[in-house]
């Protein structure tokens, strides 16, 4: 018997399938494994960011700093590798630690000083974006051997298709996050805090530690996404990933996570990102449509989805009573 709680995810998945099918019928060359893999290649960084965001939103918070942290990561990596000649083996762990620390600090401020996550992460967004410009206001192109090699490596798959190393990283993050969310104490605690922080506290759950860890995890994911983004763009730039926080939140919401916290799935977020990717692919296949249609369609889709979730949750409530 199908569990009711999986219905939103299945619908999201169904929508992805329908959109992909519609694209395949309409455009020649759309229906191929490579188009599907390109979705993953082009959105690997978004997948990783959105996974971190899912935890934050499930726990009832929000993280607006993700886009800026990605930009900062690309900037720091590019600057250290290109201008200071550091080895990527040092730089990559360093930026990951930096992202996690950034998240930890924001989490600590949010928890201990009881300031709304919206405001704290907003300040974090300004700070990270500003730090980028302090490093440099220009693009720093990366010519380092390791970065270019990773960027150009294609992992061949059957059927003449390929994926990049970024995709492998993103899929590993998704798998790891699913495990983290559903099979560890940390994941349980995150859901509990999102359901009701008060109750979680009264139950004796480590609210402080979990909350701070969640923001640290989101910071880490953003930094990892930044590394992936560096592989993808091969440059560091303060304007990279502008407004990405909105795409991320939209992907998480389309994936069925409630912004009130306590409900949501990492797998849903993954599909949410792919849906956004399919929209963009369809628009690029259409050719005549301008880029702003992406925004309008994503907005409409958000609307349809949220409305649908709303109806679904209302029905669930009425069934209970």
């Amino acid at each position: 018997m199908l569990n009711r709680k999986y219905v939103p995810i299945l619908v999201t998945f169904g929508l992805l399938a329908v959109m992909f099918a519609a694209g395949s019928f309409r455009y020649t060359g759309f229906f191929s494994a490579q188009v599907l893999f390109n979705l993953l290649i082009d959105n690997a960084f978004l997948i990783i960011t959105a996974v971190g965001m899912t935890f934050v939103i499930v726990a009832g918070g929000i993280d607006l700093s993700v886009g800026s942290v990605i930009a900062l990561t690309t900037m720091v990596s590019a600057s250290l590798v290109e201008q200071h000649g550091w080895s990527p083996a040092v730089v990559i762990p360093l930026v990951l630690v930096m992202g996690a620390t950034f998240g930890t600090i924001m989490g600590a401020i949010i928890h201990y000083f009881k300031i709304q996550p919206f405001i704290v992460t907003l300040a974090g967004m300004f700070l990270a974006r500003g730090l980028c410009y302090i490093i440099s206001i220009d693009t720093i192109t990366i010519t380092n051997g390791f970065f270019t090699k990773v960027a150009q490596t294609k992992i061949a798959l059957p059927g003449d298709s390929f994926i990049s190393i970024n995709v492998v990283i993103a899929l590993a993050v998704v798998a790891g996050a699913i495990y983290l969310a559903h099979y560890t104490r940390f994941g349980r605690n995150a859901y509990a805090i999102g359901g009701s922080e008060q109750s979680a506290l009264l139950m004796g759950l480590p609210v402080a530690r979990t909350k701070i860890l969640i923001y640290a995890f989101s910071g880490f994911c953003s930094a990892l996404a930044g590394v992936v983004f560096t592989f993808y763009m091969l440059s560091g730039y303060g304007l990279h990933a502008m407004g990405l926080e909105l795409d991320t939140i939209a992907a998480v919401v389309i994936g069925g996570t409630l912004l009130t916290g306590g409900v949501g799935y990492v797998a849903g977020t993954f599909i949410g990102v792919l849906i956004q990717g399919v929209i963009q692919t369809i628009i690029s296949f259409e050719g005549t449509l301008s880029s702003w249609w992406t925004k309008i369609v994503i907005g409409l889709l958000l609307f349809v989805f949220i409305l649908f979730q709303r109806l679904l949750s209302e029905r669930r409530v009425s069934l209970k009573t």
Binding site: L131, I134, L246, L302
Partner: protein, 346 residues
Amino acid sequence: MGGKLVRHHLFWPLCVLGALLLFNLLYSPDFFSLVLRDGNLYGSLIDILNFGAPLILVSIGMTLVIATGGIDLSVGSIVAISGAIACLSISKGTDQSSIMLVLTAVGASVLLSLVLGLWNGALVTVTRIQPIIATLILMVAGRGIAQLITSGQIITVSNPNYEYIGAGSLAALPFSIFIVAGMLVLASLLTRRTALGLFIESVGSNANASRLAGLRSRTVILAVYVFCGLCAGIAGLILSANVSSADGNNAGLWYELDAILAVVIGGTSLNGGRFYLIGTVVGALIIQTLTTTIYMIGVPPEITLVVKAFVVLAVCLIQSEAFRKTLKLRWKKRHYPAEQEVTRHA
């Protein structure tokens, strides 16, 4: 007496604003000087008011929305759409000198922003979507709509009547200040001289309880979103009239964040149930003064965001009860452990 003063909601915001102004005074003594030229006042203070006008306006609308426990992320997009519609209708007009043309354009954008506000309000009240997502829809789609209206270009108009809204002056002061003052008085009168303010706070504390007490919660919530849309629409007019052009991509970008910040700095809690219009105005002035200060002291523009981040954090920390308690505790522990002991025993 002193404690009462410190506890007043305007105390900390005003302190910050005062500190910023004091810093400016020390940094450049002629900061406060006003010059009367061609019947118009010029000076840094006037600039702050003039450039801050759209932000203050948006923040006033945002305050009421936040007071009901909601949030409106779409104001930046509404600013862009309103400016785009006005500039489009003016650029399409045949008789540029006609005042009717400007009135029609202004009317069209005001009407559209009311409709957009109504859309937000309807999503929140009728379909009962959480405000942050309900308005996220228009925030994402609105930017696209604004670009659609301007076809991705920047529409430039040269209409002196339209320019007057954003750059004209009345009684030696910029005209935009009067618009803002008018809306502020309107909002204050409506909320503090009628029961409406109480309704808003009551709905913000507990919408369900208010409904059971016989309040039309939904109507109140719907009204504040419409008002917020109106404020954003007028701000969009001022902003686009000031530069005589509409840019669907960049107009009003990050306005929602600045406006929310202004509201929070002004002492209104994001949880709803209480609101301070004057506090919000002070908050918006702090943000604008900060921007002006940063430009004036010649900080490279690239560091602006870093400074802003620290100021935002500092202001929020000062206002945080928990932070102040921690600080007090630290201070006491470090300096007067004996005295604390005495008071505890006494």
